[in-house]
Symmetry: C2
């Protein structure tokens, strides 16, 4: 019996021994191995599972040492009677759990209403698309895995663990502060004392703490237009009036309109989202005005790490003699935003207040990651990775510019292209970028409309943004070529019929073989992303929504040369029958009359 309860996965990252441990524990908790039950001998178990007896013995001994199992002399190994001690029964004594509908009207109880998020919601399955022209998403293939592993392992020594696991109160890791101070900040020309630095959960927490401290309903803030939508949201959460300040070729305009603001938020090194770099002259003008009008500047240097252009100006913070610049940055471009490591540099008084607020809202960023980051930087990996990224991104940027120049030359104006890895592409006046983006996604191409970066009335509806931080150079040309072809075809916009349809029609002979193992990428009619796995065993697994809120399973089969599918609840649980045509990265579904029903991106088995 046990061999059915313990199924080992040869492809798992866990050792066989680890897997055996894990499965035995799962079974104890699930109650399938009852408390006090005797387990088969290690010899029998090893034979059943087809592994060495030592592997089983080691796993069991560890489980005994930890109290999950007990060994009784001359009798065998048993599940500990007390294995579940401390657990309490389900609350079912009083009644069943409520259906979600029984909730006490949370909409009325929630007092802080977040404005509907203006942010472009990149679908969570973006990495499965062949041509994700999305800027700022971290490309996991560029993560410095070996270097991070080296640094992380050093945090796992007994002495190191003792050190970081101890309760340090509100203080940050002094080693990380020192590395930031001596190796990272000098890159931006910034000198800082330890008490001027606070470690945060990415730049985002830095912005959140600073806006909470500096803004209220009486303190207007000026932000860039177009600009970072979440900064507008953070300001709105504080009830602050948001002034939209336009940009020009040199960056944020510095003029009278700023004087009303008590705080000015700016992204000088690469303006977000246009990538414009603020000129030196403008930087000085902004600082002069800040001093004259006594406003505070929040400098968001979110791309400080990927300065791969020649023109690299010192941060505003390094030019500021009056201490009124609050510098917010992160290690996310080098070390993945998933690690959430950022920092704020500001006057000690503001840092002290931010530290108190941070203590109240999250204590501090995890100490093990602070230590690992400190070691990563101290070993020189930070500088080395940045140099590598600069090379890679410069290459991708060149590939993007070349491709745009070749394929989109006649029909489009490319504007502005400065710094950054991002291009803004302006289409013909009548172009509806949202429609183009939806169509492109069906061809596996992700592009980003820009309207959500604007809070004012000026949002252009024929402009989209192409980023290449997540797209290898060798795919860029092909992606741009396909996008250009799509744009041309959309101006014709004929309804497609199976006869004369482009692509490879799948029939009884090759349908099952081609389509098994594939993944479909689409959007629901509500605009939610949707991923469907077509499994080898005839199963369908579907996940829709930004958090997989809506999942379903189903079956697929081939019948009379048609692809048939039936979901448990999606599509009313009815059987659908289709003729599939593979056209590049797209699959087109025709009905038996040859009418095109749907077309979505497909990723065939690798």
């Amino acid at each position: 019996m046990l061999d059915r309860l313990i199924v080992l996965d040869p492809g798992s990252a866990l050792t066989l021994q680890g897997q055996i441990r894990q499965r035995i524990i799962d079974n104890i908790l699930a109650g399938t191995f009852a408390r006090g039950r005797r387990l088969p001998s290690s010899r029998a178990l090893a034979r059943q599972l087809g592994v060495g007896r030592n592997t089983v013995l080691h796993a069991m001994n560890q489980l005994i040492a930890e109290g999950h199992l007990v060994a009784r002399e001359r009798s065998g190994i048993y599940v500990n009677e007390h294995a579940l001690a401390g657990r309490v029964g389900r609350g079912g004594a009083i009644g069943p759990r409520p259906a979600s509908g029984a909730s006490p009207l949370w909409a009325r109880k929630i007092r802080t209403l977040l404005a509907p998020r203006a942010e472009f919601r990149c679908p969570p399955n973006w990495q499965l698309h062949p041509y994700p022209f999305i800027d700022g998403r971290f490309d996991a293939s560029l993560f410095p895995a070996a270097e991070w592993r080296e640094a992380s392992r050093l945090t796992l020594g007994a002495r190191a663990i003792q050190d970081w696991s101890a309760d340090r109160g509100m203080a940050d890791d002094p080693q990380l502060i020192e590395e930031l101070r001596t190796k990272v900040l000098p890159r931006r020309g910034i000198e800082a004392r330890p008490e001027e630095i606070l470690v945060t959960l990415g730049a985002q927490q830095g912005l959140s703490l600073v806006t909470q401290l500096l803004l209220d309903a009486t303190t207007p803030i000026a932000v860039e237009e177009p600009g970072y939508p979440l900064m507008r949201e953070l300001s709105a959460l504080r009830g602050a009036r948001v002034l939209l300040q336009p940009l020009d070729d040199e960056g944020l305009r510095v003029d009278r309109a700023l004087d009303e603001a008590r705080v000015v938020y700016v992204t000088p090194s690469h303006q977000f989202p246009t990538s414009t770099t603020m000129s030196m002259k403008r930087r000085k003008a902004l600082l002069r005005r800040a001093k004259a009008r006594d406003f505070v500047i929040i400098e968001d240097d979110f791309e400080c790490e990927t300065t791969y252009l020649d023109r690299s100006y010192p941060a505003l913070r390094s030019l500021d003699r009056s201490g009124r610049v609050v510098y917010v940055a992160s290690l996310s471009k080098v070390l993945s935003p998933a690690l959430r490591l950022g920092f704020v540099v500001a006057d000690p008084e503001l840092i002290a207040a931010a530290r108190e607020l941070r203590a109240l809202q999250a204590r501090q960023p995890p100490a093990n990651n602070q230590r690992a980051a400190a070691l990563f930087i101290s070993l020189g990996h930070y500088d080395a990775t940045m140099r590598r990224l600069a090379r890679v991104f410069a290459e991708r940027r060149t590939a993007l510019l070349d491709a745009l120049n070749h394929y989109m030359r006649s029909s489009l104006v490319v504007a502005p292209v400065r710094g950054g890895t991002t291009c803004w592409v302006r289409g013909p006046d009548h172009l509806d970028v949202n429609y183009l983006a939806a169509q492109a996604a069906q061809h596996g191409i992700l592009i980003e409309p820009v309207a959500h970066y604007y809070a004012g009335a000026e949002a252009p509806h024929n402009v989209f943004r192409l980023g290449v931080t997540s797209l290898p150079a060798e795919h860029i040309r092909e992606g741009v070529a396909r996008l250009a072809a799509l744009m041309r075809s959309l101006s014709r916009d004929a309804v497609e019929h199976l006869d004369g349809s482009r692509g490879r029609r799948l029939g009884a002979d090759n349908l099952a073989q081609t389509i098994a193992g594939a993944t479909l990428l689409s959007r629901t009619v509500y605009g939610d992303p949707c991923t469907v796995e077509i499994r080898d065993d005839g199963h369908l697994v579907g996940r829709a929504g930004f958090h997989d809120e809506d999942c379903d399973e189903g079956e697929w089969w081939v019948e009379d040369g048609l692809f048939c599918r039936r979901w448990r609840s999606w599509c009313y649980g009815e059987v659908g029958r289709y003729i599939p045509v593979i056209d590049g990265p797209q699959i087109k579904w025709f009905n038996s009359e040859g009418r095109l029903i749907d077309a979505v991106a497909i990723r065939l088995r690798a």
Copy 2:
């Protein structure tokens, strides 16, 4: 020359190779190894440093691969000309950095004023004290180091890194959600669907998010009195009126006074800070009233993991049929608060709102730690560690009760002792606990006054709290004995003179030898903690304040049989001359007239 710039530390956790890498990079960044400079041959360097040539070669090859150094054929190894590329010059072009005084009056610019923190500020050097009777501080010696290492290592495989380092948007690690759902929450009787769980940075972020969502100036909140000071602060930040609800033997009183509240905050499993467990009857009464009066309950189950008493009641959340309980907990007692792993379980609607707010304020808790925690739990280490902690804490609790019973029997009433590892000790009516705590700290004994847990007028000034979560059982008896003796001696309170002083006077023959390597633990007159290292080489290193804001260095020496010291700036930089007497864990400083000048805790070289 190079051998002076590269000093290897045989005691370092880093390999020799790692140290060589680190030092070379330090020197490049500091400019001591100029760009383009030729390094000595690996052979010469190995000889100078006294390490194998391979060690040096490996370090250099890695630095070459990463671009810090370049090898030129038949010429040697050089510092890369471009090693500092991308760095900008110091902002000195415009002027020198401001003195802190030049700041733009932050006090006026900071709009969110945090109330002066009522929290008891445990000194950051508490671990150096021999008898820290402080509850809730994590004892790093109990950290499951081998188990955490195992789980962490599994996150460092190439496939695992690819997985967690990818940008997941706002979602948590589905593996961790699943482990919480199936292994952790059932211990508390809680069933939850994935969309009812949000991972947070410890319980603290959970409380912060929930109070931000549920409270504003129009929503009174009822909290326990005495209770968690930071919860009162979080409520005050939202401008909410805070109603103080008293406790009795069964926990929070459930009566009419609650009806005014829209939200009730409660710590039922071990009331914080009294450790009272809420009775089952009271739990049901609270839930009934919440439903009848339509208020929301925030259930803070901060000690959910260390339920080592027989009486373990299901969480309120598990008893709740109306979906109005918001459950907040953490993995901090098992996995150290330094890792910042907590979670909230609530209605999906509230969780969705909390997720949006979390995205705005910190994105999400770091993905590598989420994955490591998932593996830690799935391998059974969570349950095993909890069982181990339960044993250890039960033993410590018994030791505490025995010692109190023996040493404090006649003079004190011990109240209340229920659940938890904490005892409240009520002294004689005239006892000034703050004075006692200050005196005890000079004897290396840390105790916690309780007044800061009260927001009302009732705070008792003769009660202190003894916790043993950070104190090994074998030190507890001695610590209580010393505390009891101190309390007796304080009722006499005579001024001590060198003649007739208790302890071992240090003279010319043994002074330097005894005192070198010792650490002094004290408080400044402002109440800030202060640590002084008396180094072997005659150096003094002093750090004062909660964040080491105030540091100084100095020298010490022995002259005419007196201990002499001179700080650079502390004590006006004047020389002080003292006769030291060691009395147990205390050192007493007498002046040459034999008058006691100061007495502080000392930790002699181990």
